[in-house]
Symmetry: C2
Subunit: 425 residues, 2 copies
Amino acid sequence: MTRIVAVDTYDIRFPTSQELDGSDAMNPDPDYSAAYLVLRTDDPDGHEGHGFAFTIGRGNDVQTAAIAALHPYLIGRPVEATLADLGGFWRELVHDSQLRWLGPEKGVMHMAIGAVVNALWDLKAKRAGLPLWQLLSRMSPEELVALVDFRYLTDALTPDEALAILRRSADGRADREKEILRDGYPAYTTSPGWLGYADEKLARLCREAVGQGFRQIKLKVGADLDDDRRRLRIARQTCGPDIRIAVDANQRWDVPDAIAWIRELTPYDIWWVEEPTSPDDVLGHASIAKAIAPVRVATGEHVQNRIVFKQLLQAGGLSFLQIDAARVAGVNENIAILLLAAKFGVPVCPHAGGVGLCELVQHLSMFDYVAVSGEKQDRVIEYVDHLHEHFQDPVVIRDGSYQAPTAPGFSAAMVPATLREFRHS
Amino acid sequence: MTRIVAVDTYDIRFPTSQELDGSDAMNPDPDYSAAYLVLRTDDPDGHEGHGFAFTIGRGNDVQTAAIAALHPYLIGRPVEATLADLGGFWRELVHDSQLRWLGPEKGVMHMAIGAVVNALWDLKAKRAGLPLWQLLSRMSPEELVALVDFRYLTDALTPDEALAILRRSADGRADREKEILRDGYPAYTTSPGWLGYADEKLARLCREAVGQGFRQIKLKVGADLDDDRRRLRIARQTCGPDIRIAVDANQRWDVPDAIAWIRELTPYDIWWVEEPTSPDDVLGHASIAKAIAPVRVATGEHVQNRIVFKQLLQAGGLSFLQIDAARVAGVNENIAILLLAAKFGVPVCPHAGGVGLCELVQHLSMFDYVAVSGEKQDRVIEYVDHLHEHFQDPVVIRDGSYQAPTAPGFSAAMVPATLREFRHS
């Protein structure tokens, strides 16, 4: 019987604040970072499981320590039995009777569990010789439902309802898998819109985005209303009327401010307003959504777990649900969230960028299309062209679409030189 | 100018799981623990600031590491200027542009900030020669409002409204301070009701509680319905009809289960049902509250921040608001929550027990009575008779009431022998 024999952790930091890449109204100076782990086994196949939590600099050491604190749950654990029941593993960690006090199900400890869960999925997919999206897309509805913890969800989604959703999508799976392999999955780009960029750079990057085939871009807003108006005007003029322009306030506003500010931006034909206020404020999102209609709200990258997503859906607090691959507790919790979104008929448009988030989340959207929602209408994955060179299996964008990854695993592994050079002392 | 020169951190753990003290439906085996810190300055007065986050065992090392990660914000900091603007200090840490990614405002990092903020309040009160509750009670409405961050609150509570609440209570402050010094503040006891106790022990502890002058007790429920009925019958028979009996499910149920289960317990005249479901589920609490009326919902010990409390009040998700001294970001955030509760007219009944939570939270309730709500009606502080011997200034209970602490500070300091003997290696 093979076992997990080592968990190596790395505090990886990139000095991105020097370039103002990633600058927005709440995050003026991020140093994109990853609390990274490598699971090793004594299997002669030599496969490793890689995973990480994304942070923006200070505190990445705490995030890394939280991952290291999960060692006792991992070392000596039988590989096959663990990978055969990742639903059970998820419950064991998330509901650990002592650890849960540190959340419950939120913040540093929850993200640490997410990094470990994702590393196990990476390992499982490598052992299966499949990219994660295909591995998931070929699991039966019953196997998928067993991965999900329905605790605190049953007033909105029961296991039977989840099973019905998955069975409904079972028919066309093979065709949709082929379609993904041929066409990929649509992306939108945030690269033009960082708040720290000058107007000329904004216009140039908008032109390039349209030239590259993107049908949607996103601009950061919320620091200064006049700047927002000017930048939206430049973007709209450069892109023309057919390109969707979303804006992202990164939690900048209180509820009344959000409503007033967004109304000022309405003339520029905004596709969605992202993170108008605190990610914890379900009722605030619902109030804003009601007041600014027909402009629609998107949120999710900072939503802590499936329970808050459930409420955002119940309250009508969002029209686009933005999963993040590394904030909730990994693949399993994101499957729960994809099922909730399918139940409520809300499109999932993942958050990406950061460090490796594009690499991870493409697998979840492709799986969603093949085996859960079966829909692509109004669904796009965020794309940011930063830091992909640090990954062994970086995303490939062609004609504004993510091309299906074909290498086995979860595309999570960084290149060895990066793990050496960007390790924080 | 005096400065902060050292921050010592301690991973303190008590092996409480051996006695089943603290056992409930979600926490069968807690080892009550504290991630503890001592701030030292170069002031010849020798005063230290003590603070801690409470955890229940595993993960206390991560919580301690998170506090240690705040060293750079503390070392070298001028003592007087910092203590003169704790509102500014709070904003600086909570809204740090990189650290906030780890929450934002929740989980391990937020609790670490709370521990540091509380340690600074301990230091400030010691330097003023006053117990914290008196220090706070003598601050002007303007000074108190300046301590509060209203970000994400203004749809429910503006600074002007907060000022009006505090000014309304300014008149009777001196009388109420005298009253607190004379009568203390009412307590209820959870000591009889831990789930792991045998029926005979439950009955004996109920008798003792009534004999000691408590007018309210609390029982843990939610593991087995027949057990809950039997234990409530024993408690009701032992205490008689005039003692309030609250029950606490510790997040055990989904929404539909909670409603069904609580209805089964209604015949026993329950004063409140505590934590019926996930602390993140605002809408779930509101649904439960509506369905089980006139039985009322209490919650808060796991509520991550003021933004979720705001929504619980807006949605009618609770009838008793249970602040915790060490989960949110310290005294400042709890002042925000006390003001929200006053605005909505909801009684605050703090969570306590654990390690040192009674010691801390008594200060907040006494301050609330003197300077914020001016009310004691239906307000009680939880009391659990564990681990007080480890504190330098332990709580004093007489006739079922907390006696006003008189020693300067926040009653947060453990005795030196405890810091030596229970330090986790």
